[in-house]
Symmetry: C2
Subunit: 150 residues, 2 copies
């Protein structure tokens, strides 16, 4: 059985996101998966996703961290709710804030790997930390505060 | 005389940025201009730049704030250098960190306006604050720390 990406569990209409929606043909189509208590995504840049020749654009990095982290918050909240009640009540989280620290240049020619974890859950907020790796090196770090809206 | 955008003062090779390079046909092609001590950019989303139906993707907002703010840092540094020495020694700043707070949903159907200012200049770092407006309402706030690399 093939594991289903977190993003692929959204409804058809909610899968239009430029960063990660399967129904957005012009988007980045990021797909994130659980791996223990972490979420992991591998993503392949297109040649035009550059900042300067050879390096991946910082805005693309921010977009990947945002979508990977907010999907992690959504998936974590729903996993928890399912455990508690045995049902699967839908919960929706959107990005409240996004912080990205750029540690090193990231290659535009190699796949990037994102790894995220829930750091804190408090009231209607879930804080997720995320690292982005290129060729095994951590090149960016992010933190997203996701806010429950339903 | 038409005013030249800050991004259009980069060399041909350095104008490939997905967020704001004039030579990137697949990119956002953001263009920022001085207006007093502020920089201003107006940008028109494409229908596929959405998050959910009707709303602009948070990753796109982060990308716009990143490019607008880092270009502001570069332009401010070069304006200052020109004033001091009468010459125009090139200085290059890249994004060290990016923070975005999402205040309200932003429409994907309307142009957005970005306004940024230098907040602080200290050593090799310039901190820029940036606001993004949609239909006259501030829907996102950003802060970028740009770091001099040459």
């Amino acid at each position: 059985m093939t594991k289903k990406a977190i993003q692929d569990q959204w409804s058809e209409l909610d899968s239009m996101c430029w960063g990660c929606g399967r129904n957005n043909k012009n988007g980045l189509q990021l797909k994130s998966y659980w791996e223990g208590d972490e979420t992991v995504a591998t993503w392949h840049p297109q040649p035009y996703h550059l900042a300067f020749p050879g390096t991946l654009c910082g805005g693309i990095i921010a977009s990947l961290i945002d979508c990977h982290s907010t999907n992690t918050a959504n998936a974590a909240a729903n996993k928890e709710a399912e455990k508690e009640s045995g049902s699967d009540p839908p919960k929706g989280y959107v990005t409240g804030s996004l912080f990205v620290k750029y540690l090193k240049p990231t290659s535009v020619d190699k796949p990037v790997i994102l790894r995220a974890k829930v750091k804190e859950r408090k009231g209607r907020k879930i804080t997720v930390t995320c690292s982005l790796y290129s060729e095994g090196i951590e090149t960016a770090q992010g933190e997203v505060v996701a806010i429950q809206f339903f």
